[in-house]
């Protein structure tokens, strides 16, 4: 029953896309692509829901042999455990809602059918990624979602900013993917397979000493593989330092941002890391945790000062993904995935909400597709906009043009408020609170249990980030929905969106309440996999929960100990809040406090206007500018380029800077510079040069021989005599 269901789940969206493609070749398009795709998604959703009843936790994967090379074989397989099913439901659900939303949002777009076709293709790829039990399969889905994100970000490719953004997204993620591929190769070399579960899957082999003697070199190898595979996640989930593509990706239509760049694809990185949980070693986990933590704080701080509503959400997404990574890195498997699902819902909601707002402002434009038509018009509109990196803020996305919308669009307001409360971690009634709290508890738990200073630091970071989250989210709400309309003319035009758009909002809002997420608290439904090679440091058994116990600064990189007690150790490591009640309570209390603090501050700043953000900004000028410029990541990447602009101008003046954006084209420019010179020099001078030189020599010799041929007979006779004498000399006398 399972296999056919999964096949349907996968094939339905694929078919929707295939139909579009076939019609396309015939230079026509399917009459109602939107209905088709949406229907396909709903079918998939239905099947996924049904699977919920089917699956018992941790069955063997359903595999088929894919490629056989005689000695070696690669198999493709589906692996279906509770997590997979939940992911399936999340993806199909959000995707369906986004489909429905788009029917309204994208209505009237010249490439309306294509949009839905791409959405279907994306859904297929994402679902494929989720179900595959094989790094090869995951990698396939992985790259395909990347492709779809490329296509959808660049959906309005006439806009240069969009064209750049999609390229940047694809290439930045691909950098990570290459790391992932190398990681795969390392695993393959060690285990001669790429399947994960099952009798001869990596996760089984890793436990068997014959295949994997847990000695240092093996552990190092494994850590390396783990980190490299995590690189893939860093790219896709926009973790520092590869996060810069995600904000730019907001150039795509808003439903895309909601589906791909909030709910599903970016979460795929987290999902992958969770999947690879068993092979993570202490060191690789720590790397993951740190990357996550840093991302969380960095993104959050940047978000504070954005004015583009979509970018705020983008950075908040990055930051939330950081949280999830942090959780996984700290060994809180469940917490990470829990937050993934909750975040998927409320963030999708937020994006769709913002979409609805943008849509509302769009009414002012005669044509709906103005949002993407000539992106360069933004240069010369006079809202006194501040220069964001990449392109100017479109007026209909600039929060400074909004305000007081809550009466204009109550549904949107209401739903978005719920989501905001959820993400800010307002206690008890909102799902976001639970998941975030679980993360904090997990980190703190690990910190106490291992006495590891690293995790204490990370916990602090996470806490701060959580506070900031609350702050900037409410800033968004206040600026958008409360207060007086700042741009009256635009305000007048605003209106509530049609039902096709509001209904999804409502559904998502419902999903932001914990009731539907209780499944995550079901211990025997969701079992975290074992981490065979993560144990607490040897001396951690003094007392699991001693507050006074000296904190161990020298975290042993390879927490290798006797294999015994690995099980329950990792058990503890995961459900930290059970093993360590104190950790849980502390975390909960603190998180509530910081959330409250954040909300309070933003209320004072942006609603009550007690303090003016501007004055604070001026007093903390350096910090402000740092945030404003997003820690100068893009500038840093561009710096590589700038250093080479000198070269460039010398080597090919005709080529202008405008199309250069970020590291990608920076590298491109380097290579244009270096290699244009290099090829010019090497290919033509050296290689051809050698060839030509040889040819020249031959020619000149030919010329010389000609010159000997003087035409005077007596010279010829001289040569004859000379020849004779020479021969005699060579062969006898000498």
């Amino acid at each position: 029953m399972v296999v056919p269901l999964i096949s349907i789940i996968l094939l339905a969206p694929l078919a929707a896309f295939a139909i579009f493609a076939l019609f396309g070749l015939a230079k026509r398009s399917f009459p109602r692509q939107d209905i088709l795709s949406t229907a396909a998604m709903l079918v998939a959703l239905g099947c996924s829901l049904y699977l919920l009843t089917e699956v018992v936790p941790k069955p063997d994967p359903y595999t088929v042999e894919w490629i056989s090379l005689g000695s070696v074989t690669f198999s493709m397989g589906f692996y279906l455990d509770s997590v997979t099913v939940i992911m399936l439901i999340v993806v199909t659900l959000v995707s369906s809602l986004v489909h429905i939303f788009s029917i309204g949002y994208m209505h009237g777009d010249p490439r309306y059918p294509r949009f839905f076709a791409f959405l279907s293709l994306f859904s297929f790829s994402m679902l494929f990624l989720v179900v595959s039990d094989n790094l090869l399969g995951i990698y396939i889905g992985w790259e395909l979602v990347g492709l779809c994100s490329y296509l959808l970000i660049g959906f309005w490719f006439e806009k240069d900013s969009a064209a750049n953004a999609c390229k940047k997204a694809f290439l930045t993620t691909r950098v990570g993917d290459v790391g992932m591929f190398i990681g795969m190769m390392m695993l393959f070399k060690k285990f001669e397979t790429l399947s994960l579960h099952g009798t001869n899957g990596i996760f089984t082999l890793i436990a068997d000493p014959a295949k994997f003697t847990g000695d240092t070199s093996d552990i190092v190898w494994l850590s390396g593989a783990g980190v490299l595979i995590f690189c893939g996640a860093v790219g896709k989930s926009a973790q520092v330092p590869l996060h810069t593509w995600l904000p730019d990706a907001m150039e795509g239509p808003t439903p895309v941002s909601a589906l791909i760049h909030a709910a599903t694809m970016v979460a795929a990185g987290v999902y992958l890391t969770a999947r690879m949980f068993p092979i993570l070693t202490p060191s690789s986990s720590l790397v993951i945790a740190y990357v996550g933590g840093i991302t969380a704080i960095v993104a959050a701080t940047i978000a504070i000062v954005r004015f583009d509503i979509k970018r705020v959400l983008a950075y908040s997404t990055v930051s939330q993904l950081g949280f999830m990574m942090l959780a996984l890195g700290a060994g809180s498997y469940v917490a990470g995935l829990f937050h993934l699902t909750t975040h998927a819902f409320f963030k999708a909601l937020l994006f769709l909400g913002s979409g609805s707002v943008i849509h509302a402002f769009h009414a002012m434009h005669a044509h709906h597709d103005e949002e993407h038509a000539e992106g360069n018009q933004h240069e010369h509109d006079d809202h006194g906009l501040v220069h964001e990196h990449g392109s100017e803020i479109p007026p209909d996305q600039d929060m400074r043009n909004m305000g007081g919308l809550r009466r204009k669009m109550p549904w949107t307001f209401g739903t978005m408020l719920i989501a905001t409360l959820s993400i800010s971690g307002v206690p008890f009634i909102f799902s976001g609170f639970w998941s975030k709290d679980k993360i904090l508890a997990g980190v703190l738990g690990r910190a106490m249990e291992w006495n590891s200073v690293h995790h204490y630091i990370l916990f602090a970071v996470a806490l701060v980030a959580a506070g900031i989250t609350a702050f900037y989210m409410f800033r968004l709400i206040f600026m958008t929905f409360f207060g007086e309309p700042r741009n009256q003319e635009m305000h007048n035009m605003a209106h509530e969106s049609p039902w096709v758009m509001t209904v999804p909002l409502v559904i998502l809002a419902i999903l932001s309440f914990p009731v539907v997420n209780t499944i995550w608290f079901n211990k025997d439904y969701i079992k975290p996999p074992d981490q065979h090679h993560v144990q607490a440091p040897q001396h951690a058994d003094i007392s699991p929960n001693n507050k006074t116990g000296k904190v161990d600064f020298g975290f042993s990189i390879f927490g290798i100990s006797e294999a015994h007690a690995a099980e329950d150790e990792s058990e503890n490591a995961d459900d930290a809040h059970h093993g360590h009640g104190p950790a849980h309570t502390i975390a909960m209390v603190l998180s509530i406090i910081v959330a409250g603090l954040g909300i309070l501050l933003s209320w004072l700043f942006y609603h009550k206007r007690r303090f003016s953000a501007e004055s604070v900004a001026t007093t903390f000028r350096p910090v402000y500018t740092l945030f404003w410029n997003k820690y100068y990541f893009d500038e840093f990447y561009n710096g590589v380029l700038v250093a080479l602009t000198v070269w460039k101008s010398r080597l090919f003046a005709k080529f202008d800077l405008s199309i250069i954006d970020g590291i990608v084209n920076g590298v491109a420019t380097v290579t244009r510079a270096v290699f244009a010179a290099f090829i010019g020099f090497f290919d033509n001078r050296v290689i051809d040069g050698i060839v030509n030189r040889v040819a020249k020599v031959i020619w000149s010799v030919g010329g010389r021989i000609r010159r000997i041929q003087t035409g005077a007979i007596q010279t010829y006779l001289f040569v004859v005599l000379g020849g004779i004498v020479l021969i005699i000399l060579i062969f006898r006398v000498l």
Partner: protein, 491 residues
Amino acid sequence: MEPIKNIESLAYFTPEILLVVFAAAVIILDLLVKDQESDWVAYLSLIGLGCSLIAIFITNSLVNTNEPISLFLGMIRLDEFAVFFKILLLLATAATILFSIRSEELDVRLKGEYYALLLAITFGMFLMASSTNLLMIFISLETVSLTSYILAGFLTHSPRSSEAAFKYITYGAVASGTMLFGLSLIFGMAGTGDITQISSQIASVLASGGVSALGVLIAITFILAGIGYKIASAPFHMWSPDVYEGAPIPITAFLSVASKAAGFALFLRFFRTGFDTPEILQSIDWGLLLAIVSALTMTVGNLAALPQRNVKRLLAYSSIAHGGYLLMGAVLLTSEGLSAIVFYLIVYLFMNLGAFYVVVLIANESGSEMIESYRGLSSRAPLVAGAMAIFLFSLTGIPPFAGFFGKWLLFNAVISKGLYWLAFIGLLNSVVSLYYYARIIKAMYLESAEDTDTFSFTKSTFALLSVFVVPTIFIGFLNIFYSLSAKITLQ
């Protein structure tokens, strides 16, 4: 086996006799008949060649192949080797006559003499291919030389032609004089002119210390000068470009194929039977000497051909280079090498004559031998251009044309003796050669002519052309030619 006495020998000598008879007949009839316009003399001499060919087959059938006989008290030898070369030479002469009929540069007044001389030179070459005595060798060589001097200078009122003749004879006289001196020394050492005994004689004198190896070397080198001049091998090649350029095209074709072939026949027989004994091989590093000469020859020929703009001269140099390739087979005088040379000569006959025939045609049409006059030939005369392309690629040695198979045999022979360096030089040379052959191809196919009026050729022209094209394409694929060339030996 006992040499046959003179009178009995005449029976086996009919092919040569027929040639002489027809030569005389041509001259006399030419004097009597006053018709200068038609080409009957040419056809008469063709008939003569035909008769002689038949005679060759008959006489050959008289001989027991594995028991060759020597005529006129051991002056000349009648064996498969000789027979092969005679047939080859006959074909070459026939082709030359046909070219001459079509060539427009030849002087109409002296047809009789011209064709008579062609027959005479063929006679001389027959002797070259079969003589086994120093005296015969010298006489045959001189016969060929003297007649070819005249033929080279046959274009009266053409300074080029006379100059060619002058250079040719000066060079040739000195070379043959030098050779004669060498022969005299050999005669002195061996005490006999019979080359079948020379080797053993010289071996014994060398052993007894009668003469020094130096003496032998000097003698051999002098002789080499004479033969080297005939086959235009470096450093005795320098006459050939000038002579080839000056001489009438049919004669150039003839010299580049026939007299080269004859020279090789003489060369092989002389050194194979005369000097192929261990003692002499010890006294001089034979293989190395010939290998160097061969390498030098092909390299000089190819490199000097590169800058040429006159196709005739270019082909002259190319034929020097081919002499070098052929010499590769002569290195170490192995039987493999011998059969390789034989095979290559067959191929060379067709492709080189074919190329020269095209030169004749173009010269007739455009009155020029310069490469410019080949521009756009592919559109002006597609078939001729195609044929020329085939000949040139074959000369370069590119499959599937016969030239490749010929080259391959030669390299095979060289490598079998472990002379990789020589093979390597040879191959590099064929790459270089592509360059100047391709220049003609380029002119014909990739460049366009100033005037694009198409050339008109007669059916017979194409017929004759196909006589050369078809073998150039197919010889390589037919086992018969390989087995045939493997059969030709010198004991």
